[in-house]
């Protein structure tokens, strides 16, 4: 018992350490952003206040923020999961889109199923579609060795056009630039149904699914044989091969799982928020933002939940800042600074320098005596 407790504490400590550096980078970025706003001749206090008010100001705003956070967490997990196997899944965007359109189909075509079953089916179809979409990229990498980045970029464009084609033909709502609406039975339960506070928000249980997905990703990666193999391949494919681990199999599987997270994100977006897919003029951005979310979250499932939240706040609050006369671009700049700091591992480098200097100083003090 004691043993298990101390083990747990140790695990928490280890994980906390892993996400503490990005956390500090974020704080520094906000301070830097403050100076920037000041340089524009605006008040940083006003800016940040409207940022917070716009995103967390009341229950409805908070709800709407979480609506954005949900897909960000899932696409972030998607990118991070692939990264653990040494793969850069830049195709989260396409997997998201293909997951959405498949979910529209499942939600519309199986009208008449009992609600819980129908919801489950809709999400499962979206996740599976994303998984297959990414799996193709994994398979190409494993079989012919073509690079996953190039292939997944191409798959993004294919996804976009396939989705638009289906939107305007097979799934088209007559004379409209969007699809049919999914059946009532395929819709995710919304908070508004039970809580008056959330009346004007589209917040749905998708956020809990995203949180559960983070736990599942953590569990798979750190506690299972599959995760052991995936990480081994990511760190050292030669040693993995030597240890009887199939590199090809793990690459394909990793891409499939990674794609499922993005596909699920798309499905939740349909079943919980939009209820239909639109004819897209360009990418949704959820998949690409997933890359930033994963990076800032240090590719760690818990870190990704937090960084997803941060990006959601910035997006929602950013619009509000604009209403208060502060250019929306400031938010983009803050996001940029955060990513730069995190990518350059800035905080860790500075910390190491400080530690080193402290050593030197102590030494000189000792010698001085």
């Amino acid at each position: 018992m004691e043993n298990r407790k101390s083990e747990l504490i140790e695990e928490i400590k280890k994980n906390a350490k892993e996400i503490s550096y990005p956390l500090i980078a974020i704080i520094i970025s906000f301070i830097a952003g403050g100076f920037l706003i000041y340089a524009f001749g605006k008040s940083p206090m006003v800016a940040y206040k409207s940022l917070i008010q716009g995103s967390l100001g009341d229950w409805n705003k908070f709800g709407e923020t979480l609506v954005v956070v949900t897909p960000l967490i899932l696409t972030g997990l998607s990118v991070a999961f692939a990264y653990k196997c040494g793969l850069f899944n830049i195709g989260a965007e396409g997997q998201f889109i293909i997951g959405s359109i498949s979910a529209v189909w499942a939600g519309w075509a199986f009208n008449g199923l009992p609600p819980v079953l129908h919801v489950f089916l809709t999400l499962a179809v979206g996740a599976a579609a994303g998984g297959i979409w990414a799996g193709i990229v994994g398979w190409l990498k494993a079989k012919v060795g073509s690079h996953e980045v190039i292939n997944s970029i191409m798959m993004n464009y294919i996804a976009l056009n396939v989705s638009n084609y289906l939107t305007m033909t097979f799934l088209n709502e007559e004379a409209k630039a969007f699809t049919h609406e999914i059946a009532q039975s395929a819709k995710l339960w919304r908070f508004a149904e039970a809580f008056a506070q959330f009346k004007y928000s589209r917040l749905n249980i998708g956020i809990f699914i995203a949180l559960a997905a983070a736990l599942i990703a953590y569990y798979i990666l750190n506690k299972t044989v599959r995760g052991y193999e995936i990480r081994a391949v990511g760190y050292n494919p030669h040693a993995s091969e030597y240890g009887g681990i199939s590199i090809a199999k793990n690459i394909v599987l990793t891409m499939v799982i990674s794609g499922m997270f993005s596909g699920l994100a798309g499905a939740i977006q349909i079943a919980g928020v939009q209820y239909r897919a639109n004819n897209l003029f360009g990418f949704t951005g959820y998949g690409f933002d997933g890359i930033s979310v994963a990076l800032v979250g240090n590719n760690h499932p818990i870190g990704i939940v937090l960084s997803g939240l941060l990006f959601g706040i910035l997006q929602k609050g950013g619009s509000n800042m604009q209403l208060n006369g502060i250019p929306k671009e400031v938010v983009g700049i803050i996001q940029g600074i955060i990513i730069l700091f995190v990518a350059a591992n800035f905080v860790r480098i500075v910390f190491d320098k400080i530690k080193e200097n402290r050593h030197l100083k102590q030494k000189t003090i000792r010698e001085g005596k």
Binding site: Y228, A232, N236, S240, E241, Y242, G243, G244, E356, H359
Partner: protein, 510 residues
Amino acid sequence: MSIVVEMRGIGKSFPGIRAIDNIKLQIKHGEIHVLLGENGAGKSTLMNILYGLYQPDEGEILIKEKEVKITNPNVAISMGIGMVHQHFMLVPPFTVTENIVLGSEPKKGLTLDIDSAIKEVEAISKKYELHVDPRALVQDISVGMQQRVEILKTLYRGAEILILDEPTAVLTPQEIEELGVILKSLVSQGKSIILITHKLKEVMSMSDRVTIIRRGKVIDTLDTKSTNIEELAEKMVGRKVNLYQEKSLPNIGDTVLQVKGLRVLDHRKLEHVKGVDFEIRSGEILGVAGVDGNGQSELIMAITGLTKVASGAVLLNGKDITGKIPKEVINSGVGHIPEDRHKRGLVLDFSLAENSILGSHHSKKFKAGTGLNYRKIRDYAKRLISEFDVRTPSEKVSAKSLSGGNQQKLIVARELDRDPSLLIAAQPTRGLDVGAIEFVHKRLLEQRDHGKALLLVSLELDEILELSDRIAVMYDGKIVGVLDAKDATEKRLGIMMAGGDSKASDADIQ
């Protein structure tokens, strides 16, 4: 003679371990000074401090009798210190010259002045008899040559004091001899050399003085002339060491491994193994001797499923395992200590616990429900660590943080503990100290006496002669002869390894 380096009262701790403790070291001008010590004694750490890679917790460093602070390798280089690491740091697709000038490129206006760089590299190469081709690509040259490139790189930057961390671990006996000549030529032209090695013969033949380190402390500094191998071994390990193992008569049983007409091609269709036949029976050790690059590595990779078999057959206990994937080969009872521990043997970013189950991570004993039981894995790792005396603060640290020799001990522990019916040991004692070599040799013989079949591939003739029951010599992808251990001598093997006929060489010797 003047003192070029002096380290006084140096100390350094890592989490959970006092790696260096109050060390005093003096290097004289123009000497070859060996650092000798067990795996994990702190030799590499001490040299990394001198080279500015680590900062000491306490103590001072004097270069040419002036106190200095070496905060990073650039400072070290500017003071004339150069280091060749245990593991090379070259860019394979670059040429020799490009690698050498990397970071201090000569410029002509805005462009790289590669011609003058080539000239300079050629000049240095000639001066110290390095015989390096400045235009060759690093990926095309031998390991021994790559090492010379590393040495050249330090000289190009004006090194007066050269640190070489286990330079001979990866070299063939021939290359070691050549390195000896190079080092002599360097000191005769005024350089000073600090050399880390575990090979006591080399210490005796190459060095002027030896400093022995044990568990982070200096035990003694001796003049090489006034000491001998036994004394050095004892001082280093702290007890008497049996440099040679007593071996009982083999108790030979059924055939375990049978290799028939095996041929292996690489991806460029070059033939590396050209029709090899041999068998190993239970209770015997078959040693494979040969100069590096004569198909030994490819032979092992083919048996273990790490590379494709072009033709021929591999049978284990009568079962055909030709062309099986590594997982199936492992499961059918093959253990494998790989020759390159960083490339194949370990996932450096994994903890020791995670590394200890690599290859048996599917085993039921590490499972709990749908997942892995990390507590059991850690307990298992702890047992291996204590049984094989792996020096580490705990099983939770990453394999990266272990000293080279202790990494090797962990691999040996893992592969022996799997209890395979065939154990393939490639360079099993590379980088190990004499105490650890004694231990590993004992364990390998124990396996043999328990009725296992062992395939031992080693570049060290001493090791082959000491352990093997039969010795196969590989030359140019073929087995050119198999000798009974009692008929084998270093000289005879040497002739066969160079492609000479074993029959003719008999006559030569007699």
